[in-house]
């Protein structure tokens, strides 16, 4: 027979006002198995907890039910209390008679009856609770960072500086990400490359960072503390261990007319290239889609068309036959920092809901560019050497129109959210433009100026007050090319005046979107993502850099639109979380995981199909001689997160989720 204690809390007046706590204690005292039932003003106070402890000892309780607030509030508190009193903490449960009862009802009789019911459910449930011990898992003190932008760089450096090894995987040939493309950064107008390049070099030289550029995560298995990650090292066509980055190959490459990704399509690069001079690692890759040799091979040409790079390479580093290789890395934690891409106003979009902008010509007007392209125009290392010249004819634009919220805050085009950084960088653009083009007029169409950051609002004000940017509040309805100019049909909602502008160039502050392919990466990692593809954090306020999968963290613009300071702060936060995780050689997990009764399991493996975490495995039951009796399911306790979907789907009910076993729930329903 059980020996259960019931403790009913008044929570001052919070519960006591509408619930007759004494009556609840009395009614529960009548239940079979309950040996002690009292009410008290503040159960969570020190004297309240002392009452619980004392009762456990005095009445030899083997179950404690606290009828008080939400378990989300104080379950930990009371479980600690009973543990201190010497019984297993999972023999303590809470009945929620505050949030779910006293606070939402006025009728005292009804509320009291409901409180009795709720407490009775828990009393019956706890009769089937069993002591549980935390699960201990060994930890591999090594982290994987996916993405080598500023967030990934920061996370890698912080973890490595903290003494743990890091594998940094970047899919482009060089780390640096979008930040390396920027001209200056708001609100200080530092040169982006000047502050970023040293950090990139630091990564390259760090003894505890293994940098894998031009590589992608192929497969992720395992669980917190024990991930096994397969990385695909894409074939560069260049032997990285031989190359010394002299750059001769790039000079001799005959095809130099390829639109440069780094210059956002405004500059050109050869078929064998490093994305930009400061690239890390400074090892070129061969762009096989554009290299004459590979194109020839694809056509089954008898002879290789061109081997100029191979001929000129003194170190014999060119390896045309190089293949993709797969490497396996063991890590204990993973940071996702894959960053963003910009909304493309073209009609062909990657998601059904996203439609492009027909009224702006679907990207057919050459002098309509996006923010990153403007960065390249403004950058001293850019295709124009830092001069603002329009792409179509190289003329200096005298009137530049900047449009904010392109894609952003535009549900009709498929994106509802605010991209957060555009207000700031457009203000920066107008300043850069003002400095570089004398007599030029910048006109900004905006909806709201969102400049909530240290020094941010001052920055936008400076753009308006001192740099002559004309801010027009309203959206543009249509743009079209008319001779030499772009007709921009807008409206100033502040004056009620139409604004029909003949612009020389238009810059679109297009929305930030997660990188393409993020969904498949998220699926590999079992982390959830929103309908735009941004990775979901575990809690928007209190667990902003964790994900729903233990051991996987998120930093930067792959979680939501982020500016540099945000991305860096998140990256450092993930590092601190991971270093915390790595501070012990074993980690403890709540034992609320599923368990299979291998005696009754029929081996249909419905559980394997539904498990979101791949935590259920096949297990062969053998007799003493080693003959296979049957194959059944087995739960990997390290991986299981305790959702219980397997149990609901198990036809013979051969799997039980600890803490929510069928016995426990059945008892609670039966007490209804």
């Amino acid at each position: 027979m059980s020996r259960i204690g019931v403790f009913v809390c008044h929570c001052g007046e919070n519960i006591g006002r509408t619930v007759d706590c004494a009556a609840v204690a009395q009614a529960c005292g009548e239940l079979p198995g309950v040996v002690h039932s009292i009410d008290y003003k503040y159960m969570c106070s020190d004297p309240g907890q002392a009452l619980v402890k004392q009762a456990v000892a005095e009445h030899k309780l083997d179950g404690v039910v606290v009828a008080a607030c939400s378990p989300h509030m104080h379950e930990k508190t009371f479980r600690k209390t009973v543990a201190n009193a010497g019984i297993n903490r999972f023999l303590c449960e809470m009945a929620n008679v505050r949030e779910h009862c006293s606070w939402i009802h006025e009728d005292r009789e009804e509320a009291t009856q409901k409180a009795i019911d709720l407490t009775r459910f828990i009393v019956e449930k706890i009769k089937h609770n069993v002591p549980l011990e935390p699960i201990k898992i060994p930890v591999t003190r090594r982290a994987l960072v996916i993405g080598g932008g500023i967030a990934g760089i920061q996370a890698a450096l912080d973890i490595a500086d903290g003494g743990c090894e890091v594998v940094l995987v970047e899919k482009e040939p060089s780390i640096g990400g979008h930040m390396s493309q920027l001209s200056e950064t708001f609100p200080t107008l530092d040169c982006s490359q000047c502050i970023l390049t040293p950090r990139m070099v630091e990564v390259y030289q760090h003894p505890r960072i293994k940098l894998m550029a031009y590589a992608e995560v192929d497969k992720v298995e395992g669980y917190i503390g024990n991930f096994t990650v397969t990385v695909r090292q894409k074939a560069r066509g260049v032997n990285a261990s031989l190359c010394n980055g002299c750059g001769e190959c790039q000079k001799v490459c005959p095809n130099k007319k390829i639109a440069s990704e780094f210059d956002a399509g405004l500059g050109k690069r050869p078929a064998i290239y490093v994305p930009f001079p400061q690239a890390v690692p400074n090892i070129p890759v061969i762009d096989r889609a554009n290299c004459a040799l590979y194109k020839g091979r694809a056509r089954n040409a008898k002879k290789d068309a061109c081997k100029k790079c191979e001929e000129v390479c003194g170190r014999k580093a060119i390896d045309f036959d190089q293949q993709d290789t797969f490497l396996t890395e063991k890590v204990g934690a993973i940071v996702v920092a894959t960053g963003y891409q910009l909304y493309n106003i073209k009609k062909e979009q990657d998601k059904e809901a996203i439609s492009g902008y027909g009224e702006y010509g679907y990207g057919t007007i050459p002098d309509v560019i996006d923010g990153l392209q403007f960065e390249r125009l403004a950058s001293a290392s850019g295709p124009t050497g830092g001069k603002i010249l329009r792409p179509s004819d190289g003329k200096e634009p005298k009137t530049v129109v900047f449009l904010q919220c392109i894609g952003s805050r535009d549900p009709a085009k498929g994106i509802d959210y605010c991209s957060k950084i555009c207000c700031m960088y457009i203000a920066k653009h107008t300043m850069l433009y003002h400095h570089k083009v004398h007599g030029g007029q910048a006109i900004v169409f905006f909806m709201d100026i969102r400049a909530g950051g240290k020094g941010y609002d001052e920055f936008t004000r400076r753009a308006i007050e001192e740099n002559d940017a004309l801010y027009v509040r309203g959206r543009v309805s249509k743009m079209y090319r008319d001779g030499d100019v772009i007709k921009v049909l807008g409206f100033d909602t502040l004056s009620g005046e139409p604004m029909h502008i003949d612009a020389d160039m238009v810059v679109l502050a297009t929305a930030m979107r997660p990188q393409p392919g993020i969904e498949s990466l998220a699926q590999k990692l079992s982390v959830s993502y929103d309908r735009f593809g941004f990775i979901n954090e575990a809690h928007p306020k209190l667990r902003p850099v964790e994900t729903n999968t233990a051991g996987v963290y998120v930093a930067g613009a792959c979680q939501a639109p982020r500016d540099i300071p945000d991305a860096v702060a998140m990256a450092s936060a993930t590092a601190s979380k991971i270093l915390g995780l790595f501070s012990a050689s074993e980690l403890e997990r709540e034992p609320l995981v599923a368990q299979v009764d291998q005696g009754t399991c029929a081996g249909c493996f419905h559980c394997v199909r539904v498990c979101p975490y791949g935590a259920v495995e096949h297990f062969e039951v053998k007799d003493r001689k080693g003959n296979l009796i049957k194959t059944v399911a087995q739960v990997n306790k390290g991986v299981c997160q305790g959702c219980g979907t397997c149990q609901a789907n198990c036809p013979s009910k051969s799997v039980e989720l600890q803490g929510f076993t069928d016995q426990q729930i059945f008892a609670a329903i039966n007490a209804f």
Partner: protein, 289 residues
């Protein structure tokens, strides 16, 4: 028929199979027989009275048949769907069975009837069966079959759907009142293969074992839920029910729901994943607030 017998003889002679499970003549029409000797292969028959789903005998719970290991089974399309289900759910290894597929244009309601297939005699389960030949089979026999006759009489599902919930309740109470909980429906079902059925679980006992309407309702609703997306529509449960409860109605209703909502129809392709235990992000959810 001769081809079937010859094949069975060959399979037994060259030890491809240790037993051929098929139909033979019994006192009340054709019934399952287990041929282990090549010389007995001529006992095998096949006609429209071969109603039994022989896939049931592959179910690993039939302990007395396990020792045969390699079994050859004569299957109609619905039986083949059951074999596929057993393979899909890892109860049977494909390489352990030889499937002798029979083209089928429907069977009569009971093996005891004369074999003439008419609107009045066709088994209800055949009426919406789309398969004329078992694609999973290793050997395909029999003549090209045409679609079975459409059954006569009112469509009971439509009739029940048109009723009010209270009327439906009344209907099923009358039927379930008769249930004696022998669980014959479960025992003959090829897809019921749990070592320990949930209905026999006692800690906790979700489903009351007593044959009162409450326990009976729980049992049937639970059974149908467990068959969701798995029921092959062979109708064995209905045929086995000693008190003639129209269990097939509930299963057919469930099958319709699964098809409407998830576009899934149970097939004899074991590689097609079942609809339950899977999901689509855009599954209809008009019933959820």
């Amino acid at each position: 028929m001769q081809a079937l017998q010859e094949l069975a003889r060959k399979l037994l002679t060259d030890k491809t199979a240790n037993v051929v499970i098929g139909w033979g003549q019994g006192p009340r029409g054709p019934r399952p027989i287990f041929v282990t000797q090549p010389e007995h292969a001529d006992r095998l028959i096949f006609d429209t009275r071969c109603v039994h789903n022989l896939a049931t005998y592959l179910n690993p719970r039939r302990a007395h048949l396990v020792p045969f290991v390699k079994k050859a089974v004569v299957v109609k399309p619905c039986d083949a769907r059951a074999v596929a289900g057993l393979i899909r759910e890892t109860q049977v290894k494909r390489e352990d069975v030889v499937l002798i597929g029979m083209r089928c244009g429907g069977v009569v309601r009971d093996s005891d009837m004369d074999g003439k297939l008419t609107e009045a005699t066709v088994s209800p389960r055949c009426m919406d069966c789309p398969d004329r030949e078992p694609k999973l089979a290793d050997h395909l026999m029999g003549e090209e079959a045409s679609a079975p006759p459409k059954g006569k009489g009112p469509d009971m599902i439509a009739k029940l759907d048109a009723m009010s919930p209270a009327e439906r309740w009344e209907f099923w109470q009358k039927e379930l009142e008769r249930c004696v909980r022998c669980h014959a429906c479960r025992e003959v079902c090829p897809m019921c293969f749990c070592d320990r059925c949930i209905a026999d679980k006692s800690m906790p006992q979700w489903i009351e074992s007593s044959p009162h309407p409450r326990g009976n309702l729980s049992w049937q609703m639970t059974r149908v839920m467990h068959m969701a997306g798995r029921c092959v529509g062979c109708g064995e449960c209905t045929r086995a029910c000693p008190v003639d409860i129209p269990l097939g109605l509930i299963l057919r209703k469930m099958t319709q729901t699964v098809e409407e909502r998830f576009g899934y129809r149970v097939s004899d392709d074991p590689t097609v994943p079942a609809p339950m235990g899977a999901y689509r992000l855009d599954d209809k959810q008009e019933f959820i607030l």
